[in-house]
């Protein structure tokens, strides 16, 4: 299937004084996907996104969004995109309904206000001042403002930062529903779980450079192919038998209360590791008390490709 690129970025660079914030970044975002730019704080995610939105002018490189150059055609482009900025605020005493009306007055075509507010669960907050909204409600309002003009591409920058898990899950559902309506979503996040659950494809960015781009599962498969199984058994033959499997290492795990119940850690590269372990256990009729599979995540991929944890300061 050939896919249309709605965002094309090549050789994008931006520096602030002597600090290089974005360094020769290139990627494409395809029609109808959720694309995530992931990396730690200060990696250059927001700067990259703001150059694509046209809010910021890059020092070098080429950016095309829906065929427009965002730096030159900012105002024509803005009619067709929706933007949510990181840590944005509105006037403290602006009402939710007033913000929606103001935004609506700025675009040529807009969606139905009532439906939009209802979709985002803000109908009852129509007359509430911005300052009285909770963090989750504020973010939902910003999503509403980003969707008011029925945009083709939606930009979401650190959408769920500072939200509690419940509000976060609600926002994730909303983002998926944007994709369902055929929109393209370009988001940034430093939360690997968010990227893994939401994004069709992700680009890993660190210190201003893109390190790799792929589907979350593709990145995991290529960078962290190793799978492991945590197995608890009272059968002393298990270690020996499993050790004979090709390409597999077996070690003793951390001690738990009962020394007899120490789990075995079985690691292997083969993607049929699980099958061969189960086969081996069945062949030798080994009784299993507990069986846990450990699948690497984007977090492991990040550690592997950048050499540092995403949570630590870079």
């Amino acid at each position: 299937m050939t896919r249309t690129a709605v965002i094309e970025v090549s050789g994008l660079s931006k520096r602030y004084g002597t600090t290089v914030a974005v360094d020769d970044v290139s990627f494409e975002v395809y029609d109808g996907e959720i694309f995530g730019l992931i990396g730690p704080n200060g990696a250059g995610k927001t700067t990259t996104m703001e150059c694509v939105e046209g809010v910021r002018t890059p020092d070098a490189g080429r950016v095309k969004v829906l065929g427009f150059d965002p730096a030159r055609d900012q105002y024509r482009l803005q009619q067709r995109i929706g933007v949510q900025l990181q840590e944005a605020h509105l006037q403290k005493r602006i009402k939710v309904g007033e913000a929606i009306s103001l935004w609506a007055s700025l675009y040529k075509s807009v969606v139905n206000h009532d439906q939009l507010l209802a979709q985002l669960g803000l109908s009852e907050k129509r007359n509430a001042w911005f300052m009285t909204l909770s963090g989750g409600q504020k973010q939902r309002l910003f999503i509403a403002l980003a969707l008011i003009n029925d945009p083709e591409v939606v930009f979401l920058d650190e959408l769920t930062t500072g939200l509690d898990p419940q509000a976060r899950h609600a926002i994730w559902d909303l983002v998926r529903s944007i994709r369902t309506r055929g929109k393209t979503v370009f988001l940034t996040t430093h939360l690997m779980e968010e990227a893994e659950r939401l994004c069709d494809r992700v680009a890993i960015i660190d210190r201003g450079r893109i390190i790799d781009i792929d589907t979350p599962s593709g990145l995991v498969r290529r960078h962290c192919p190793q799978r492991s199984v945590l197995l608890t058994t009272e059968d002393s033959r298990a270690e020996e038998h499993l050790g004979t499997l090709p390409g597999v290492t077996v070690t003793r795990g951390d001690a738990v209360d009962n020394p007899l119940m120490m789990p075995l850690v079985i690691r292997g590269d083969a993607h049929d590791l699980m099958t061969s372990v189960i086969q081996c256990l069945a062949d030798h009729q080994i009784r299993v008390i507990d069986f846990q599979t450990m699948v690497p995540t984007l977090e492991d991929v990040f550690l592997k490709v950048t050499g540092h944890s995403i949570r630590g300061t870079s």
Partner: protein, 248 residues
């Protein structure tokens, strides 16, 4: 080009009215002060020529200049707050043009300045012992031009203040000393030459001269240089602000 200007201006007026002390501080206080001052001089107006002159000539100009400075300080503060909390940046990431956002704030301040002026005029008629019939239209026009010109200086100040916390004090430090040299309290001619030179470099001096002239009904042509100076300040400061203004 100014898409959304009226919407945004009207919205900002409503938001301002919701601020605690917003309306009272901007419009109520100056009018109240004006009335109290007038009442306290009331008895001596007819017997004392100096007081009569003060109430009849200086007080209206003083009040007008304070209104203009108050409007500008309030503008500097609100721009600083909007920048610091990211509101300016958020508004800018819409089809609103940058100058539309800033013009809306200028209009809000002008609306409240005009309202204060009208209330003061009404209060003056009702409570002041001196019967005055100045050329209101000229005076209002002079005040409008002066305020717009000083506001352009305000934008420059708003570009330079580091945080919203310092906006009001820094603005006050810049504008109130200008007032001292404006010729309102001490006639320019009686200042030392060096101080006079400084005074002539400050926009407020021309504003005071223009306002006084307008109040006394002098012809506009006599104040052509005041107008030129205020226009020059406006052009230079607007051009400079356009270059150095920070949105975030």
């Amino acid at each position: 080009m100014f898409r959304g200007l009226l919407n945004l201006t009207w919205l900002e007026i409503k938001i301002f009215m919701r601020e605690p002390l917003g309306f009272l501080g901007t419009v109520g206080m100056p009018v109240l002060l004006f009335v109290v001052l007038g009442r306290s001089f009331g008895g001596s107006v007819n017997s004392n020529a100096r007081v009569r002159e003060f109430v009849g000539e200086d007080l209206p100009v003083l009040a007008a200049v304070f209104m203009a400075i108050g409007a500008v300080l309030s503008l500097v503060t609100i721009i600083a707050i909007y920048r610091e909390s990211g509101i300016l940046k958020r508004l800018r990431a819409t089809p609103l043009r940058p100058h539309t956002i800033l013009t809306a704030h200028v209009l809000v301040k002008l609306v409240f300045t005009a309202l204060t002026l009208i209330l003061m005029a009404a209060a003056g008629r009702r409570f002041y012992p001196v019967a005055l019939d100045p050329p209101w239209l000229s005076f209002a026009t002079a005040l409008l031009l002066s305020t717009v010109s000083i506001m352009s200086v305000g934008f420059l100040v708003a570009s330079l203040v580091p945080t919203a916390r310092f906006a009001q004090p820094i603005g006050a430090i810049i504008f109130y000393p200008m007032l001292g040299l404006s010729g309102l309290f001490v006639p320019l001619q009686s200042m030392p030459p060096a101080v006079q030179t400084i005074a002539h470099a400050l926009p407020l001096t021309y504003a005071v001269s223009l306002l006084r002239g307008a109040w006394l009904g002098e012809p506009w042509l006599a104040h052509i240089w005041d107008l030129a100076a205020l226009a020059a300040v406006f052009v230079v400061c607007t051009a400079l602000s356009a270059r150095v203004f920070r949105w975030e």
